[in-house]
């Protein structure tokens, strides 16, 4: 069996296609384990996995925790408000402390882009980026690719439309890096104020209307629009956003008939998508969540067995 080249999972920007393929392949057997009914593997026995979250999260954190436990690891959480972080300890010192307690993998979410990269340069443990600022959310990108692969049988040559607040989205960036690497044709659509400058250089086509991006799409990844973005002149109101950028049945008709509908969650019903779209049979939003556990099991397994190889 192949070994992962990378010691850390910081982003898909710098992940090789070999590593991506290995993770996707391994995730498939992990999903079998999940489906088997006996969710207890020996893969991570004797390993310590720490989740260090500086930002709130429900699904990502739980998904990692369950992935660790299903494979037999000792898992612990660091809750930011109750730790010395609240006393003003630097990330460097917090990271070193966790490292010295014997962590094999630190799973980290942070509001600042590059924080996991910074930590990884200063400690021995493997670092998994569970979302850093607006930069990347690589495990989400991988689980999205896994979902596409499972449903479509391939990624190469597919047309993927990513819609919404591209500017602030780490999910968008990870998906763009990963999908373009795997040969998909990616289009992004956002209001001009939420379109990152020079994003075309990442190898995507950009539009200011979701209609154009949707034409003949095989996959639609819709992003969460955060209410907090209102009042900063990025867009006037949620109402106006929903009217011009919301995905409804009519707009969905522009995509291919068998297009997959995905969303990293949590969804704002009636804002970026109507409930009828969210709940339609082409929607794989719930399946994504399940795949997320499988993909994270695969990543934890591959990272911890690296040192044995």
């Amino acid at each position: 069996m192949s070994v992962m080249q990378s010691k850390h999972v910081l982003g898909l920007k710098d992940m090789s296609t070999d590593d991506i393929n290995l993770i996707l392949k391994t995730a498939k057997s992990m999903k079998h384990l999940l489906d088997s009914g006996n969710k207890k593997g020996p893969h991570l026995q004797g390993k310590s996995i720490i989740t260090l979250f500086y930002e709130n999260s429900t699904r990502t954190r739980l998904s990692f925790e369950l992935a660790s436990k299903y494979l037999g690891a000792s898992a612990a959480n660091i809750s930011v408000s109750g730790s010395s972080v609240a006393k003003g300890e630097t990330l460097l010192d917090t990271g070193r402390t966790i490292n010295m307690m014997g962590a094999d993998v630190i799973i980290m979410r942070h509001s600042m882009s590059g924080a996991p990269h910074f930590l990884s340069k200063n400690i021995n443990a493997s670092v998994i980026n569970a979302g850093d600022g607006m930069n990347e959310h690589p495990t989400q990108g991988l689980l999205d690719m896994y979902t596409i692969l499972e449903e479509k049988g391939r990624i190469q040559g597919l047309k993927v439309a990513i819609l919404g607040d591209i500017y602030h989205s780490r999910v968008a960036r990870s998906n763009i890096w990963g999908l373009t690497k795997m040969g998909a044709k990616v289009t992004v659509a956002a209001p001009e104020t939420l379109m990152p400058p020079e994003i075309e250089k990442m190898g995507v086509e950009t539009f200011n209307t979701i209609e154009k991006a949707l034409i003949d799409a095989d996959v639609i990844i819709n992003l969460r629009i955060q209410a907090e973005r209102q009042g900063k002149c990025l867009f006037p109101t949620i109402r106006e956003y929903a009217r011009f950028f919301g995905l409804d049945d009519k707009r969905l008709g522009l995509a291919k008939k068998d297009a997959l509908i995905m969303h990293p969650g949590p969804v704002n019903r009636g804002v970026e998508m109507t409930s009828s779209v969210i709940d339609c049979e082409r929607s794989f939003i719930n399946e994504q969540v399940k795949n997320g556990v499988a993909v994270r099991m695969a990543i934890l397994f591959l990272l911890t067995r690296r040192e044995l190889a």
């Binding site: 630097t90 460097l92 600042m112 590059g114 924080a115 930069n135 020079e198």
Partner: protein, 430 residues
């Protein structure tokens, strides 16, 4: 005590000297310039054959961090760093603690520099009290105490009325306002240049227009008040264009840039490299080319270091919270020679204008030339000395430089301050 500099290629702009000749110094003064001079039996002789002998370099924009942030730098370490970089005079910015916004702090800096400084130190006073942008500092008193310029560097004077009045008032005292041009609303919470690299790292961008909007405002205010203004650390194509046009219509605007704006682009920030974080941020290649063009055609008058030492703990952190700025003294000359002279953009005469005489003019210093009767502040430069930047050998207290490992050409081999060599053969001798 006599000191003779023999056979150097002497360059002086004011006297149009550009030839191989000797310079004889007695005590702190230049007493003779000509071929075949003799220092007498007890005199000290420096053989400058194959080297340029230029007026002592003057930095009009640095941060010595003293008083208040001595853990980053102090007047002793900062002036040592300046000396090995070839500078004989430096003007330090007032964002100290306390801020240099009154005559007492000006005196403190001057006195401390007199006692332990290795090169001449000239404080720049704050435009506004506490650099808060609200009330004018005691500008007349600052000038009387020895301040050579006015700046709220580090932050812009946001209120245009405050800036207009600062320009009017300071012009009475013949002291120039040095403007840190940045529109804070446009810069928002950006941490690097806005463009492809900010996009791919998911970092908030600072658009180049945030500088240019303020350059434009300050040019208009200078034009309206007929008071001079100096634009600090110009980093963008838009700013260069605005300054060029303003100069054409006779506005009393001068400008500086720093070595990092003609030698590095935003790509240096890749992989969240906090050593490349600076404000204004490193810009695009287009901006770098425009800055070089501005230096060539005289739009940009001065090369300043913006020497900004920071402790390792302020750089070895997440990119968002890392401190802005680089150690500048020790790489400014080599970077100018490597990226401007060796590339054929500037001649040594033009470089001397930008690092000697123009900063002297801006600060109102009777310096920047090699003339009989003048104080002997002289830098001897070997433009062919090739070396690798090693931050661990910096004389500065700090090591925050993006240039570690760079192979550069050209160094100050001697730095002579008031007739006294403080650097000999590239080594600090004080």
């Amino acid at each position: 005590m006599k000191l003779l500099i023999k056979n150097g290629h002497v360059i002086d702009i004011k006297t149009a000297l550009n030839e191989i000749t000797d310079i004889l110094i007695e005590n702190d003064r230049i007493i003779e310039i000509g071929k075949g001079l003799d220092a007498g039996s007890t005199g000290d002789v420096i053989d400058a054959e194959g080297k340029y002998v230029i007026p002592g370099m003057i930095d009009c924009h640095c941060h010595l961090r003293d008083p208040g942030y001595e853990y980053k730098e102090d007047i002793e370490s900062g002036t040592k760093s300046a000396a090995v970089g070839g500078f004989t005079s430096v003007a330090c910015m007032p964002n100290t603690n306390p801020v240099i916004d009154n005559q007492a702090v000006v005196s403190f800096v001057k006195n401390k520099a007199k006692q332990i400084g290795v090169v001449n130190v000239y404080p720049i006073g704050a435009i506004t009290k506490g650099q808060q942008g609200k009330e004018l500092s005691d500008i007349g008193e600052l000038k009387s105490a020895g301040a050579v310029g006015l700046s709220d560097d580090g932050s812009p004077v946001e209120n245009p009325l405050v800036m207009l009045r600062a320009l009017k008032y300071s012009s009475m005292f013949d002291i120039t306002v040095i403007s840190h041009c940045e529109d804070k609303f446009l810069a928002d919470d950006g941490v690097m240049n806005e463009g492809y690299y900010s996009t791919i790292m998911g970092l908030k961008g600072i658009p180049s227009v945030s500088e240019a909007v303020m350059v434009s405002r300050d040019i208009l205010l200078s034009e309206y008040t007929n008071a001079p203004i100096h634009i600090a650390h110009v980093s963008t194509e838009l700013s260069v264009d605005l300054i060029r046009k303003a100069k054409k219509r006779g506005v009393k605007v001068t400008a500086e840039t720093c070595p990092h704006y003609f030698s590095l682009t935003e790509s240096a920030c890749e992989n969240f490299n906090t050593l490349a974080k600076v404000n204004p941020p490193l810009r695009s290649e287009k901006d770098v080319n425009a800055v070089i063009e501005g230096l060539k055609d005289g739009t940009i008058d001065i090369i300043a270091t913006d020497h900004a030492p920071h402790h390792e703990d302020e750089k070895n952190v997440e990119f968002n919270i890392a401190a802005n700025g680089f150690v500048g003294f020790e790489t400014a000359l080599p970077l100018s020679i490597t990226y401007l002279m060796k590339e054929g953009h500037l001649t040594m005469e033009q470089l001397v204008q930008k690092i000697c005489i123009n900063p002297a003019k801006l600060l109102g210093l009777n310096k920047g030339t090699i003339e009989v009767g003048k104080t002997a502040d002289i830098t001897i430069v070997d433009i062919n000395d090739e070396y690798t930047v090693d931050i661990s050998r910096f004389k500065s207290k700090s090591q925050n430089s993006p240039y570690n490992g760079y192979k550069l050409f050209g160094r100050a081999v001697y730095t002579i301050v008031g007739g006294k060599p403080v650097v000999r053969d590239k080594k600090l001798v004080i």
